[in-house]
Symmetry: C2
Subunit: 458 residues, 2 copies
């Protein structure tokens, strides 16, 4: 049973996705629809999404048509944007309208939004009233907010019902979400009074009034709240489901932790990528999409590198007299860049996870400067010994020692101040911090080393 991953494989067993793709593709060519259905039935939605992405455009539509009613349109929320656009253009609007009624409202909103305005309206017009209302509640809110992330279908009951009435309501009502973990208790104006986890409901006798077992919700989210803040709140307080309210404090939906998992992953991923100047790239993006932003990032780098080059030019005469300076100067610049990147990464991540606050910023700053001083002294000894052994002359050793200490201190201070400053100015601290920090340590490194050498040695 143990496979390479040490987790137990889902039903498709150990068949690699690549194999499913070729099997399905060949079966489609042969019009062997039974085979297509058989392979697809063994796949879960994210796997089927991978298959669809790799098929040729016309085969994608053939596959969906072959699966007919067995095709879960949630799969389309998992495929790449371009693939989704291609498929939703190829499928007739009434098929899409049927798909939308079967989806959770957040997934339906996501799917609808990728359509052209007139198609979207035509599909909305075809929906039953209750589906349309929930969906429009999601569409009210812009992307990346709690209102878009939330499930607008939820179970809400009045406070005077008993546990038995709630259970009977759940048993008799067709139009409830497929799974839910909280029952919300609301007043006639849909203001939230409290909630009951259904495991609590299950364990309570039928004649108990619901308002005696409900708990006040310590956490509520405004529908306009940014999804990243929502994610932080879930993570910090270990939440499973949180009610979403509008500006009049009326219950409009519920965000569950599984909706948030993807947001958390995305945000952390984004930070790592922003630091390298490849912010919103996806692996599926084409050359045309990624080349221009990467060009811009490198261009900013060139502009800063020209500043460092001008510093070197300033001391061109010294280099002509003492070529050892040209040999050693990149070492000082690169040390500063690396040390600055260390402090900066720690700062950026601590800001992102809200660990760094006014409460501890002084302690962290003191720690970073102390580390810079300690490592500065150690590398000053090491590099001056290296310089003396390589080129002779104690003077060069002293100059490189002082230059490296200055540069590591500047790296520590800039590594903290630049992300903090960017955040205070309202930017994401991960954006462009790298280029600022490494450019500054280049300039300071070259200037300190070449400047000191020029005035003392030549």
């Amino acid at each position: 049973m143990t496979n390479a991953d040490e987790t137990v494989a889902p039903e498709r067993g150990n068949t690699p996705i690549a194999e499913c793709i070729s099997t399905i593709s060949e079966a489609l060519e042969r019009h062997d629809l039974a085979k297509v259905r058989e392979v697809a039935a063994g796949l879960e939605n994210p796997d089927l999404a991978d298959v669809i992405e790799e098929l040729a455009p016309e085969q994608r539509v053939e596959l969906i048509e072959a699966l007919g009613a067995d095709f879960d349109f949630e799969v389309l929320t998992e495929v790449d944007e371009k693939v989704r656009d291609q498929i939703s253009e190829a499928l007739p609007n009434d098929v899409l309208a049927k798909a939308v009624t079967e989806l959770d409202s957040d997934d339906a909103a996501y799917l609808l939004e990728s359509l052209e305005a007139d198609d979207r309206q035509e599909i909305l017009d075809q929906l039953p009233q209750s589906d349309r209302a929930a969906l429009e509640r999601n569409l009210l809110y812009p992307g990346e907010t709690a209102g878009r992330l939330m499930q607008a279908d939820f179970v809400a009951v009045p406070p005077f019902w008993t546990v038995g009435q709630v259970i009977d309501f759940a048993r008799d009502t067709e139009d409830l979400p497929e799974t839910f973990s909280e029952i919300f208790v609301v007043d006639p104006g849909f203001h939230l009074l409290g909630s009951v986890n259904i495991s609590r409901l299950l364990r309570t006798k039928r004649d108990v009034p619901i308002n005696t077992i409900m708990e006040a919700d310590r956490h509520m989210i405004l529908a306009t709240a940014d999804q990243e803040q929502v994610a932080r709140q879930f993570e910090r307080y270990g939440l499973m489901a949180v009610p979403v309210v509008d500006s009049d404090e009326r219950l409009v939906g519920v965000v569950t932790v599984d909706d948030v998992v993807e947001v958390i992953e995305q945000e952390a991923d984004e930070d790592a990528k922003l630091l390298a100047g490849v912010g919103d790239e996806r692996l599926s993006d084409s050359v045309r999409e990624i080349a221009p932003p990467r060009f811009l990032w490198l261009l900013v780098n060139v502009l800063f590198a020209m500043v460092s080059a001008s510093i070197i030019d300033l001391f061109g005469g010294s280099i002509e007299q003492m070529v050892a300076l040209a040999v050693l100067m990149p070492i000082i610049a690169s040390m500063g860049g690396n040390a600055g990147t260390q402090t900066m990464t720690v700062t950026v991540r601590a800001l992102a996870t809200k660990e760094l606050s006014d409460m501890n910023v002084r302690r962290v700053a003191l720690r970073e400067v102390t580390v810079a001083l300690i490592n500065g002294v150690l590398f000053a000894c090491l590099l001056s010994a290296l310089a003396i052994l390589w080129f002779g002359g104690a003077g060069l050793g002293v100059v490189i020692a002082i230059a490296i200490m200055i540069n590591l201190l500047v790296a520590a201070v800039a590594g903290m101040l630049i992300p903090l400053g960017l955040q205070r100015l309202g930017f994401d601290p991960a954006v462009a911090s790298t280029v600022f920090v490494t450019s500054l340590t280049d300039v300071v490194g070259f200037f300190a080393f070449l400047g000191l050498a020029t005035f003392w040695l030549l």
Copy 2:
């Protein structure tokens, strides 16, 4: 109601944590225990954990004693390791034993593990049999595995029970987990037959047999599986709760998505930090803890920088003749480093999220090389124009153009091959990729530029 965060604040309202800390600290000094309890009652566990971390060591224990039975020991799983050690040493073992019985088994295991071996045994001996069994099941498995992450308390029923019997069992049994979302159906040997989401249970008539509504679990996790793989599976398949089985396929626990949220955040965080050489640092670490690993990372950098310096030294004569080479060479090296970091970051993240696989690695490699060629040509034009304007002489322009194209191509190839190679060798691709890539582009940049200049221009 709207506060700055646009989410609705928990009960403590807008009182900043810093204020709670000083209020509690002052109240403890005055022995005003009523005030202490009042402020603490308004705090949720993660907030109370923050307060405890910032208090003086003796005040931490005073606070816990003041709260008495109101203190939720889950708070101790949220404080920093050193703070937890200090508190658990200061508290008597019988208080800790009582605490452990009240915790979920995964939290209890986490807490117990931080104790010294003899204290741990003494506490285990004081536990009731059922608590000890669950706890020991967690402690069986090493850290960072599913077995440690799982909740070893769960609700399991035989297949021949009806829905009504299950509900009555849940109502009448004291010793169930506080909240649960799945009922597991097992045979007498505790082998998993299927599971029922409790919202499904709630909506089904009492006389229906449970085995007619249970669903086969498409996902199971081996207790020995790595927590990162578990997290990926939850994320990919949007899972809420997954049963954990031992090597004999017996049900031993359940991992829920809220346990996984922290793992996902940690793993993404780790990648961003590993790339900068500050892998397992925490913000609360002391200077003594972070200085040595940072020193080592910088030392590796110095060793690689010496290789670049030797390349420059090799062409010392050329630099003496033409100081423009020393001015321009850092531009080429830094361009290569930045372009290489772009490709490398994309590769490292795509490997981490399992987006990059044998299926698409050729397409991605082709894309990266194409981008390098396009940007290479653009920067070749730009930099050769710059060089000619700055220093005159078309020769220098041609040399810098060729050098930058070579370096951007090498950056793209190395940015993919180095993380892929590290992974194939069994290392985390994020470790040390940066230093390898940027050192290589430094060496190649200096060598190509100075070498071409020496043979063509001098």
